[in-house]
């Protein structure tokens, strides 16, 4: 058990206690209204600041990582997506990168046996990452049922698809599966657990992991667990909860009676995640769009890229070069610009 992991776990447990105790002693308006708004403001302002900060720095050179055959002569087939020379190619490349994690799909694992190296497809990280992100997205979208009235049909549709599988376990000691199972929530929990276990048990990954890698994992795990608990085990009065959440988005605030503390923990976790987002590695969500090794055309010899801060530099001119070597050049029969004068002048200063 290392420190980075422990500190993050304790931090999330601490957040749990804060929200639980806070709502238990009646600070429900704080955890139900004030903090979510504050978190939202921090999130939007923070993301704005970060992304515009990136945008402020120019892209002086066009340096895409080329992962396929370049465009040359017409009889050589170009890899139009992996080494795009058109905006369309770049668009598809970015689409694959963002929606299908193209580069991560290339992942291999190096193994060494008796001095022989092998590199085999290592697909689990890609699967885990895809599962995690899409489960998260689905979960987010279906939560819109708490934030819209009437609920748009596409939200209901996603929700219906998500709850396609029906598993009901109805025994005296355990009741599970009513009302309906959301696959996304379970996949999210499983994927986030996988990502955590990977950090814990794959040694190089554990070695590179910082507290700030564990913290969001624990936080999301907390969000998923509290959500799952409320839905399947402890049960909450969701009509009241929707009253609260609708109050937030329509600015008619209310804290209905009968909402359990666990809900405030759930909401607090989400608020913390939102507020933490812009200051953390989670900004890879925005950064993936802006990576100059992926989002530019690779036809760099065909179309000139302009560097806004290109400045003149000191170079060693041909004149200075010839002045130094003129005699030797003439002797070797190399052409020169200037034949030597009887009294050779001082070698010229290098010019700008």
């Amino acid at each position: 058990m290392n420190k980075n992991y422990l500190v993050s776990l304790l931090a999330v447990i601490g957040l749990f206690v804060i929200a639980w105790v806070g709502s238990a002693i009646g600070l429900k308006w704080l955890f139900g209204i004030v903090i979510p708004y504050a978190a939202l403001v921090v999130f939007v302002a923070g993301v704005w600041r970060k992304v515009m900060g990136w945008a402020r720095s120019p892209v002086p050179f066009r340096i895409p990582t080329t992962c396929g055959q370049q465009k040359t002569m017409p009889w050589i087939k170009q890899a139009a997506i992996e080494n795009p020379s058109t905006k369309g190619g770049v668009f598809v490349r970015m689409l694959l990168e963002i929606l299908a994690f193209r580069s991560l799909f290339r992942n291999t694992r190096m193994k060494m046996r008796e001095g022989k190296l092998s590199y085999n497809l290592e697909i689990f990280l890609w699967v885990g990452a895809l599962a995690f992100h899409y489960a998260f997205l689905t979960t987010l979208v279906r939560h819109l049922r708490f934030f819209t009235e009437p609920i748009p049909s596409w939200v209901s549709l996603i929700e219906k698809v998500d709850s396609f599988f029906r598993v009901e376990i109805m025994y005296d000691p355990i009741h599970f599966g009513l009302p309906g199972i959301y696959v996304s929530g379970l996949v999210l929990l499983a994927a986030v657990t996988y990502l955590f276990l990977r950090r814990l048990f794959v040694r190089p990954v554990r070695y590179i992991s910082l507290a700030s890698d564990y913290f969001p994992l624990f936080l999301i795990m907390g969000i998923a667990l509290t959500g799952i608990f409320m839905r399947y085990f402890t049960k909450v009065d969701i009509t009241s909860i929707k009253e609260l959440t609708m109050g937030l988005v329509t600015f008619h605030w209310s804290i209905p009676e009968g909402i359990g503390n666990l809900f405030f923990v759930h909401l607090f976790f989400v608020s913390v995640l939102l507020a933490y987002f812009p200051f953390s590695k989670l900004m890879h969500m925005g950064g993936v769009f802006l990576s100059p090794t992926r989002n530019l055309t690779a036809n760099t010899r065909e179309v000139r890229h302009v560097n806004p801060w290109n400045y003149p530099v000191k170079v060693h001119t041909y004149e200075a070069y010839e002045d130094e070597f003129r005699e030797k050049m003439i002797e070797a029969g190399l052409p020169v610009e200037k034949m030597p004068e009887p009294k050779p002048e001082e070698p010229k200063e290098e010019k700008e």
Binding site: V47, A55, L144, T148, E149, E159, D237, I238, V249, G258
Partner: protein, 129 residues
């Protein structure tokens, strides 16, 4: 290369999407649902279990009832107060809550909870209306 406007555009699209619930509900009143209790229910004063429990966990109770009736043919339900009921959606629940549209659907539509009770059971209120 000036790509600031594209980045700004992308950022704005993201924020607009993110703010979807705020503009979607703009100008719409979204009152909390108000399920109508029938005269009979009002007269009874209380359900088979306390109201708090029923609001949050009625689906669990119904699920247990179904299992008890279908699997074990046991139809007796005795609540913590010692009162006895027949486990039956049609004859017990719907006896008081006799209008699905005005009672069940109010909250279920509000929270987008789609139930399959009515795949088998008949919504009596419909026939009467």
């Amino acid at each position: 290369m000036n790509d600031k406007k594209y980045i700004l555009g992308g950022l704005l699209i993201f924020i607009v999407l993110f703010a979807f619930p705020f503009w979607f509900n703009l100008g719409k009143a979204a009152p909390a649902p108000n399920p109508v209790l029938s005269e009979k229910a009002k007269a009874a004063g209380k359900c088979v279990m306390p109201t708090e429990f029923m609001r949050a966990e009625h689906m669990k109770l119904l699920g247990m009832w179904r299992r008890s009736v279908v699997r074990h043919a046991k139809r007796e339900f005795i609540n913590p107060e010692g009162k006895q009921y027949t486990m039956s959606l049609q004859n017990t629940c719907l006896n008081c809550h006799d209008n699905k549209a005005k009672f069940c659907d109010k909250c279920h539509d509000y929270a987008s909870v789609d139930v399959y009770c009515w795949d088998c059971h008949i919504d009596k209120s419909k026939g009467e209306e």
